[in-house]
């Protein structure tokens, strides 16, 4: 289900100010385009047969850089809009959830799909959803082991198993 771009928790608008995050984002855009321009030169822009491998990325990077500069100038000139960005609490939730996902992804090939997903779900359900431990454990076990069975055994989509003890001993 797609909802609108402004999530429900954004109802509390922050004081009107140009967020530092916008400058950081524009800086990232500019860096990507400058890097792509630099990289395109190394790929040859033009050959006797016509455009080289670097031609298209070069043109695109120039365009992104140009548009980023226009956006930057517009942001300086336009009246400051009231920020409807994430509140501190939801930002903390987001950062923690992303970090958890990264840890799960990194751990999955070592401790196996079932253990990694069980730990991930336990964290999400206990800390974010604030479920009772036994409910979290039941949902976590069903989703991780059931999900493994559904995809690995039933649909034939192989998912990783643990490579290190004790996960190898447990056969998960």
């Amino acid at each position: 289900m797609e909802t609108t771009q402004s999530p429900v928790h954004d109802e509390t608008a922050l004081p009107a100010q140009r967020p530092v995050s916008l400058w950081i984002w524009l800086g990232i855009m500019a860096f990507i385009s400058v890097y792509a321009i630099y990289g395109s030169f190394g790929l040859r822009l033009w050959t006797p047969r016509g455009p080289g491998p670097g031609f298209f990325p070069f043109v695109l990077a120039i365009a992104i850089l140009g548009m980023t500069i226009i956006w930057f100038v517009q942001s300086l000139r336009d009246p400051v809009e009231a920020s409807s960005g994430s509140t501190g609490t939801s930002m903390r939730h987001i950062v923690i959830s992303v970090a958890t996902l990264v840890i799960v992804a990194a751990a999955m090939e070592w401790i196996g799909f079932r253990a990694a997903i069980l730990l991930f779900l336990l964290y999400e359900l206990l800390v974010n959803a604030k479920l009772a431990w036994w409910k979290a454990l039941i949902i976590g076990l069903i989703a991780s082991f059931g999900g493994y069975w559904l995809f690995n055994d039933f649909l034939g989509v192989s998912l990783p198993v643990g490579k290190i003890p004790p996960f190898t001993w447990l056969g998960i």
Binding site: A63, L101, E124, V157
Partner: protein, 500 residues
């Protein structure tokens, strides 16, 4: 007539037990995706692509297409019962749909929506049947410069209509093209921007990018949200519209079909615009226009017919010219490409059986949606009783599985997470996601047609102005691109449309 023979052949393909099962699964999964918060049609179709790679192409595309049009119906359920649009195209339905629920007619509204979706979907598919041959024959006559021009027009339209700012939409579009350049150069075989990572030699997986952009970023942006409302589950008796409601819906079905089918053909126009214009048409032409906003059945029948007609009509440019009209169609196009099929005019020459099989399945899928969804309304609404935070955790689990199974590698999970964060930032700064998706899928073909054109002209760019069709198409693209300077205003509905 040839068309009927082709279509009959298509039905022979689509009516095999296996393909019927795929259509049924697609309709069920599509409706579920429409109902679930945090995952829309774009991410939903993208997520399922890896799971369909082992299937034969016809079944895989039949299932993914069914998911695509099934989401429109799933989105209606939450619009009507919860006053929360399940997906953008159903937003306008909340006005009268929810009022009907408050009057105890929620079930009837859902049945009217299902029938309207069926009518709109079937008529738009008939349009596809008749447009397929002539348009694909035209498509076969165009060369690389014209194809490049056609893609420029499609992308320009989407960029021009996406989001609030043209500049941000352009950056999004160019960024998608730049990401598409990662990997081995198709002509010289040189690795581009691979940073020495062997996984990047094949490019960045568009599925991982799309799942991150549309799936993970949506879930992340909803974290910390207040709990959703509890739906009112209608009883079976309440599902049946009365005679007056049926009678009043018929003209709205007709108007919705015409509007949705026409707008579906235009790249950049989304189902939400069709639904909005259809609601506007009801306000202007309905005999009961004064009741709109207070639970008038026309306010559900018109928009719901229109958005499903739009979804089916949007397949016409994809099937006949190889041009995706919306991000979801772009993802579907990606699925074609992953199956080794190139959507467009050659599809009807090289894989006519598959093309007509998929078209025939659209009729079957629309029948399935009508037959299975009305009795299953209680099941769909009971899913909404699951707390949103638990659903978010489970959706993230599916996002991990979906991105892992692309190449059976955690690298794609990391790509998904990265683009989830990128998508969140893009939403934060009102950068539309749709241009990035469209250009990411079209990028390699666009570059190929540009370089083929210049190969033909031995590096001379004048080929794009000396060939009249290419010149006209590029002129149109340019005109669209500079439309902000001409003070041409985009429809307000598109500025907030998450699908753009």
């Amino acid at each position: 007539m040839d068309v009927f023979a082709d279509l009959l052949g298509g039905f022979a393909t689509a009516l095999t037990p296996q393909n019927l099962l795929f259509a049924l699964i697609g309709c069920l999964v599509g409706t579920l995706i429409g109902v679930l918060p945090g995952i829309g049609p774009v991410a939903g179709v993208a997520l399922l692509i890896p799971l369909t790679l082992n299937l034969e192409p016809t079944g895989a595309i039949i299932m993914l297409a069914a998911i695509f049009y099934g989401t429109a119906y799933g989105g209606t359920i939450t619009s009507v019962l919860l006053n929360t649009p399940g997906e953008a195209a159903s937003a306008i339905t909340t006005i009268d749909g929810y009022q009907m629920t408050k009057k105890g007619r929620g079930g009837a509204a859902l049945t009217i929506a299902a029938v309207g979706s069926f009518v709109g979907g079937v008529i738009a598919t008939i349009l596809l049947v008749f447009a397929a041959k002539p348009l694909s024959t035209f498509g076969l006559k165009i060369g690389p410069p014209e194809f490049f021009g056609l893609m420029v027009v499609g992308i320009s339209l989407l960029v021009a209509l996406a989001g609030k700012s043209m500049i941000r939409a352009l950056i999004s579009g160019f960024l998608g093209l730049l990401i598409a350049m990662i990997g081995i150069d198709p002509v010289f075989g040189a690795p581009r921007f691979t940073f020495g990572v062997p996984r990047l030699l094949d490019g960045v997986s568009f599925v991982a990018v799309i799942v991150g952009l549309f799936g993970l970023s949506e879930v992340l942006s909803g974290l910390g949200a207040t709990e959703a409302k509890r739906p009112v589950v209608p009883g079976m008796r309440g599902l049946l519209p009365n005679r007056t409601e049926w009678k009043r819906s018929v003209p709205a079905f007709a108007r919705g079909t015409v509007i949705g089918s026409a707008l579906g053909l235009i790249p950049g126009m989304t189902g939400s615009v069709s639904a909005l214009l259809s609601y506007g048409a009801e306000r202007k032409f309905s005999k009961y226009r004064n009741e709109l906003g207070t639970g008038a059945v026309e306010g559900v029948a018109g928009p719901e017919t229109s958005n499903n007609a739009h979804a089916n009509a949007a397949l016409i440019p994809l099937f006949t010219l190889g041009i995706p009209a919306s991000p979801t169609i772009a993802v579907l196009m990606g699925a074609f490409l992953q199956q080794g099929l190139t959507p467009g005019p050659t599809l009807f020459v090289e894989h006519a059986d598959i093309a007509w099989g998929i078209i025939a399945s659209l009729f079957i899928g629309n029948v399935f949606l009508l037959v299975i969804n009305v009795p299953l309304i209680r099941i769909w609404t009971s899913i909404l009783l699951i707390p949103e935070k638990i659903l978010s955790a489970l959706i993230m689990l599916f996002l991990i599985i979906g991105s892992y199974t692309i190449n059976y590698s955690v690298f794609d999970v990391f790509v998904m997470i990265l683009f989830g964060v990128v998508g969140l930032v893009m939403r934060r700064f009102d950068m539309p996601l749709a241009p990035l998706v469209l250009t990411l899928v079209l990028g390699p073909m666009m570059e190929q047609s540009l370089r083929e054109s210049l190969d033909i002209s031995q590096g001379d760019f004048s080929i794009f102005v000396t060939r009249p069709a290419a010149a006209i198409l590029l002129g149109i693209g340019l005109l669209i691109a500079i439309s902000p300077l001409l003070k041409i205003r985009k429809p307000a509905a598109l500025q907030e449309d998450v699908e753009t």
